[in-house]
């Protein structure tokens, strides 16, 4: 028995139970899929499954990575420059602004990602027929929340700047005091 397990391991690359667990999963998923086939809806179902993966892995992910990369390149005071890049450039006196832009932008885009059918009015008709309400206010609300997020972030950055300035002053004072002695 152990010999058989070993042979399977060598050929398959993992314990036979690994294969059994995965086969059970495929059987369950296949059975669920068969119900979708019976309902005559498997084409759209399968297409949306694959499109969902492609849309995330090969569209959404590259887009937000690119946006983040651009932000890192464009904004001043990059925290922790990557090794080898301008090793002699002095640290700017202000704290890096990157995350104070990144975080509100991410929150805003997250809200848009979820609620874009209402924000952009794409489902305005069906929404009105279902609820008797209009989708018109959602764009304004999203812009307002986005504005507030950036405002709050700017306030947080102002606090961070003051703290950094106070630290710099304290360091300078300490240096002066050290020289005086």
């Amino acid at each position: 028995m152990r010999g058989l397990t070993g042979r399977v391991r060598r050929w398959y690359g993992a314990h036979p139970l690994h294969l059994l667990a995965l086969l059970a999963a495929f059987a369950l998923a296949g059975y669920a899929l068969s119900a979708v086939v019976a309902a005559g809806q498997w084409r759209g179902f399968a297409a949306w499954f694959l499109v969902a993966i492609v849309a995330h892995d090969l569209l959404l992910f590259p887009l937000y990575s690119l946006a983040d990369l651009s932000l890192r390149r464009l904004l001043p005071g990059r925290p922790g420059r990557s090794e080898g890049a301008r090793p002699s450039a002095p640290e700017p006196p202000w704290p890096p602004v990157l995350n104070y832009v990144r975080v509100p932008a991410a929150f805003s885009l997250l809200l848009l990602l979820v609620w874009f059918p209402l924000i952009l009015g794409l489902s305005a008709g069906t929404y009105h027929r279902a609820s008797g309400l209009t989708a018109a206010p959602y764009l304004g609300r999203w812009l307002a929340v986005t504005g507030l997020l950036f405002l709050a972030s700017a306030a947080a950055y102002a606090v961070a700047l003051r703290r950094a300035a106070a630290r710099t002053r304290a360091q300078a004072a300490a240096v002066t005091a050290g020289r005086g002695r």
């Binding site: 998923a29 669920a32 899929l33 995330h56 892995d57 990557s82 997250l110 959602y138 609300r141």
Partner: protein
């Protein structure tokens, strides 16, 4: 012909790579081995490869294995992935949150299906798949808030988990491009199984989020697709948890959460390399601390959930639900939130005018005008209506107990009822009620809500209100109820 051409092309490419290979190996040898353990991964199989390949024809398999030895440029090169925050610990923390969170979302989803009492003849929106309905039970009517809480949790927690899902996928995305794409049959099968969990989670979130906004762009029935999509996801999810559990445990033990929460950006260092290869081979300097990333994800979750939860909690909190479909907008309208307006179903004045009759069918058939129904003994109860889309609202309904109506139709011990609407079409123009639902003393045919006649959008002349039933089983514009007598 074509095949031969392709084979020749492969062979040529293999030859070109062979020609370059010695230089690469030399470069690898020059690199210091210490401190860059993952660099070696870029050149797998080099040790096994013959140093001086014998001249002459080579098998296609050898050419292929040569090709697979060198990753193509771009995301297939480990050096592309530089984030210093990726690593087994981070992935494990996110995985643990999803393990608990998605389990709750999945279970509330399956319970939501059970709440439709799909075993009753006309109720099942998703025929087939009998084996997956093993867990169904007669949905209770008590507590009355059961469906409200279940569905509020399902939708709000689902929204809250979206940032966690996206970050978790981000943390493992380099693995999608690992090279060679397949190392063993085991790995091939496991990678294929990821279609179930990754496709499943994205599919369920996409269809669910679209549905709560009435964004019906999908070419299938929401109920069928969201239910069976969930089963595909569950298959992938359970297997993934079983197979990855040892990694999860090792990952969680590899660092202390408490210490991470005290570590600022200046002290943030990459994780140690892990066998799963989640840590970057050559991490860049960090731009955000690990606690910063976790705080941002938590903040994203709270933002999404916080600006939606009010539509499920109701009261003054409804005004805080800026983006939820029955949140602030519904509160500002001053009306009770509604699903499907009278205009949408094409309700006419004639439908609800003096010609309106309520037909009760049992051992005899009775036909009543609205005034006659209003003259029957009335009762009143505060009950929620809760939609599958997650929103809900409690109101004081008053009307006639269903058991009283059953007796009028000559049925003293009803074991079920088929409620029909004036609606001419639509998937929920009828509802089959269970014995528990008909016999609950609070179940009623309501004529009034919050002290006034029902608005047309809320089912005037009469609607059923059933405690703990999903919203669409509180049939509006009711014109016929058929009671089933105990056999």
């Amino acid at each position: 012909m074509l095949l031969a051409g392709a084979a020749a092309g492969l062979a040529a490419a293999g030859a070109a790579r062979r020609a370059r290979a010695p230089t690469r190996r030399a470069a690898a040898a020059r690199r210091p081995a210490t401190g860059q353990p993952d660099r070696a991964r870029e050149l797998p199989n080099t040790a096994a490869a013959p140093q001086n390949p014998a001249p002459g024809p080579r098998s296609a398999g050898a050419v292929l294995s040569r090709l697979l030895s060198y990753p193509p440029p771009g995301p297939f090169r480990p050096s592309t992935w530089r984030s210093p925050l990726r690593g087994l610990w981070l992935t494990s923390v996110l995985g643990l949150v999803l393990l608990g969170g998605l389990a709750v979302v999945a279970i509330t989803g399956l319970l939501s299906y059970a709440s439709y009492n799909p075993r009753l003849p006309g109720n099942d929106q998703t025929p087939g798949g009998q084996l997956l309905k093993f867990y169904l039970f007669s949905w209770p009517t008590d507590p009355a808030w059961l469906y409200r809480v279940n569905q509020g949790l399902h939708v709000t927690l689902g929204l809250a988990l979206l940032p966690v899902v996206l970050t978790k996928l981000w943390s493992v995305l380099p693995k999608l491009f690992s090279w060679p794409p397949v190392r063993s049959p085991a790995q091939a099968v496991e990678r294929l199984s990821l279609v179930m969990i990754v496709g499943g989670v994205l599919f369920e979130f996409a269809t669910g989020i679209a549905d709560i906004q009435n964004f019906y762009v999908f070419p299938f029935s929401f109920y069928t697709a969201h239910l069976y999509g969930a089963w595909v996801f569950i298959a992938g999810f359970v297997t993934h948890v079983i197979l990855k559990f040892p990694h999860l445990r090792a990952g969680l033990r590899s660092r202390s959460l408490r210490r991470e929460l005290r570590t600022p950006l200046s002290a943030t260092r990459p994780e140690t390399p892990d066998p799963a290869g989640l840590r970057a081979a050559a991490p860049a300097a960090p731009t955000i601390s690990r606690r910063g990333l976790l705080a941002a994800v938590t903040g994203g979750s709270l933002t999404l959930a916080g600006l939606a939860a009010g539509q499920s909690i109701g009261g003054w909190t409804r005004r805080t639900a800026l983006f939820a479909p029955r949140g602030l907008s519904a509160a500002q309208s001053g009306e009770l939130p509604v699903n499907r307006t009278a205009a949408t179903i094409g309700l006419t004045d004639a439908d609800v005018g003096p010609a309106y009759r309520l037909v009760l069918v049992g051992s005899r058939q009775v036909s009543l005008t609205r005034d006659q129904v209003a003259a029957l003994p009335q009762q009143s109860a505060v009950l929620p209506i809760a939609c599958v889309e997650g929103w809900s609202v409690a109101a004081r309904w008053s009307g006639v107990a269903l058991t009283d109506l059953a007796r009028l139709a000559g049925v003293n011990y009803p074991v079920g009822a088929l409620v029909e609407s004036i609606e001419r079409k639509g998937s929920f123009r009828t509802a089959d009620l269970s014995a528990a639902q008909v016999n609950d003393p609070r179940s009623m045919l309501a004529l009034r809500v919050n002290g006034a006649d029902l608005p047309r959008d809320h089912g005037y002349p009469a609607r059923t209100v059933i405690p703990a039933a999903p919203g669409v089983h509180n049939t509006k514009w009711v014109n016929k109820i058929t009671f089933t007598e105990q056999a």
